[in-house]
Amino acid sequence: MLDTLILSRIQFAANISFHILFPTITIALGWLLFYFKVRFDLSKHPVWMRAYRFWVKVFALSFALGVVSGITMSFQFGTNWPGFMETVGNIAGPLLAYEILTAFFLEATLLGIMLFGFQRVPGWAHTGATFLVALATTLSAFWILALNSWMQTPVGFEMRDGVAHATDWLAIIFSPSFPYRLTHMLLASALTVCFLVAGLSAYRLLRGDNKKAPQLTLKTALFSAALLVPLQIFVGDLHGLNTLEHQPQKVAAMEGLWETQKGAPLVLFALPDEENRQNRFALEVPKLASLILTHQLDGELQGLNDFKGEHPPVAPVFYSFRLMVGIGLLMLLIAWWCSARLYRHGSLTPLQLKLLVGMTFSGWVATLAGWYVTEIGRQPYLVYGVLKTRDAVTTIASEQVAITLSLYLLLYAVLLFAYIKTLFVLARKAVDVEEYDLTQPGLPERKANTTTEGATA
């Protein structure tokens, strides 16, 4: 039987991996909905409301999954990682409290108005609610990334009797890695939503939906992606340089660099061999890693040999990093190719549409891979240099953790399947909707011959 530490780690990884999927969608989708709503308010053109109506459903579903999986997180800290709050609770506590106070209530309360309020509040109030929900999801990201960045690059505190006490709150909130991490994550959210919107819109077009809304959302998503992917690659590079400065062993693991050397090669692919501390079957470009990270052909890079016993497991960090970068490059290729075609011809080829459908959830994979790089890359520490993961774990019996872990895994698998399936069901339903029906304020109903949906949640 696995011990409580490894089971708790798997459980936390499962919970947070499942959870992060949904905020990654809602953060950027909130702003996209606000954009649709403002365009509708300005032009009164029903196509914008059509786009809003479809995507607000996806937003509501993602939001619900994000809320319920997030509640699990607030229990996890105490149940499985009591050492975390005992050691750094004085810093983590206020950051979490501010997230709840400034973000959770705002988004949860105004979401009701956003979803049910079309006929209950004036149009401006509805647009305002949409804006505040988007703002609150972003604020939530702000606080949670402030905490995570502090765990990566802790500053502004002093240790008294083994407990961290805050000395400078501004330094804590704006810790050295925070600006990079926040920007990187917000852009990851934007790209995830771009490819989700493009994917589902392409799916509708492939199924013969000849209305204006899917074409419009496809165009919005693709053009945004074409602009944002290169920006994300640039920001990711800055984030990497920042990591090199503060957590060199994480970068060494990402690059698969076992020995400190000048003019280090860029390892394109290899099988890292943890036991013999070397790469097997390495495919390398000479000196490129040094050039990228130090901007000199002969720049010296610290290898893992400088951090024996203090560096993360290499293989998961190494592979996750390549997966993230690989998807990023694929996104760049597809976004530019499809955007160019769309710009010149006004429509995409069936092959391009199919490719986009295949890329629908690519943002999720890249985001998760990126988080694995940074979180596994911080090991063996929970709070870098301050608290080791194994020192924070609970004393709960491993059988109990095994039970809850299997329940969560089963539940998450079912929910993920249901979520993805439902998005495509929603897209298929949307194909059958009338183009416009202005009998209600911007609320197109279904075709007259099909029965209307019941009032619902």
Partner: protein, 334 residues
């Protein structure tokens, strides 16, 4: 600020945590209650019942995050001691909340054939959540142990809390609906009220008998005389509620919200009774709230944030309840 001592801060945060927990019990209580008594025999009723809680449930559940979050940040030692002891029921609660939270949204989006399955999921998830909440409360009252007597009491407590949520859920539906569904809610509310009354009576007798501290609180004069007002008020509300429910529905829908307000007072009484029984302990008979509190500096930072932000939270919550006032019969999902 000399009055902002470590003791006062600890007390203020205990009050804030308790308030969040009470608000959670009342607010998520009514939407959980609607869930556990969801009328499976009539789809139109289910649509209306769920529409009546649709705009609110998300914010209601946030009070749980707030309560657990405050316990975590202000009383970390208590958070880990309590959650350590109720690890499995807490996991069941979370799974229940996850199931009902997503069923809520899925039911509106899937093919009609699957809608009923998600409604069952909603009902079962709500039931799992309410029972495990009551179970956890029972284990807490019994001093966080798993002797046979504690487990029996906790299971009984799980049923009582479920009945109480069913009562407040249907009291909410009486206010929010009309016609057949309203009459159905009145009948259900009556049944749930009788069960809740019996449950509260039993718990109030068992609790002082197993806890010497609790016995002292409720019997030592002179304070015990004042405290006696709490159960009197509580049982008075039950009597009044019974009379009201017997007469409802009235023409013009008069008094339709009365059961909800009476139930709310009952919830406040029960909560006050429990809080008084255990003060100053946050882990029964083991850890007082003063011992469990975080460092003063951190509490101060959160305190000012909370004092500043809470009025805004109350304000936009009021806006939401105002926007969705009245019957839910015509409430449509975007």
């Amino acid at each position: 600020m000399s009055w902002l001592t470590a003791e006062n801060l600890a007390l203020a945060f205990a009050a804030l945590t308790a308030l969040s927990l009470l608000l959670y019990g009342i607010l998520d209580g009514y939407d959980l209650g609607v869930g556990i008594t969801l009328p499976m025999q009539n789809e139109a009723w289910r649509d209306t019942a769920i529409a009546s809680i649709g705009p609110f449930w998300d914010a209601n559940e946030t009070w749980l995050v707030m309560a657990v979050g405050l316990l975590l940040v202000a009383f970390p030692a208590a958070h880990s001691a309590i959650l350590h002891a109720i690890y499995l029921p807490a996991a069941l609660l979370l799974i229940g909340l996850i199931l009902r939270g997503v069923a809520f949204d899925f039911r509106a989006k899937v093919k009609p054939a699957q809608k009923r399955n998600w409604d069952w999921t909603f009902k079962a998830g709500s039931l799992l959540a309410t029972f495990s909440q009551g179970f956890m409360l029972g284990i807490y009252v019994m001093g966080l142990n798993y002797q046979l007597s504690s487990v029996l009491f906790a299971s009984f407590s799980g049923l009582c809390v479920t009945a109480a949520y069913a009562m407040i859920g249907n009291a909410w539906l009486i206010g929010k609906t009309s016609g057949e569904l309203q009459r159905h809610a009145i009948a259900t509310c009556k049944k749930a009220g009788v069960l809740t009354f019996g449950g509260i009576l039993a718990v109030s007798m068992i609790n002082p008998l197993v806890n010497a501290n609790v016995y002292a609180v409720w019997t030592e004069p002179p304070l015990a005389y004042f405290y006696a007002a709490i159960p009197l008020l509580c049982f008075g509300m039950f009597a009044l509620g019974y009379l009201v429910l017997k007469r409802l529905p009235l023409p013009d829908d008069k008094g339709a919200w009365l059961p909800f307000w009476l139930t709310l007072i009952i919830f406040v009484c029960c909560f006050a009774g429990l809080a008084l029984s255990f003060y100053p302990f946050v882990v029964p008979n083991e850890m007082t709230l003063y011992e469990a509190a975080s460092s003063k500096e951190s509490l101060q930072i959160i305190f000012f944030g909370a004092v500043f932000v809470l009025p805004f939270i109350l304000a936009y919550t009021a806006v939401a309840y105002y926007a969705f006032r009245g019957k839910a019969d015509d409430l449509k999902y975007y």
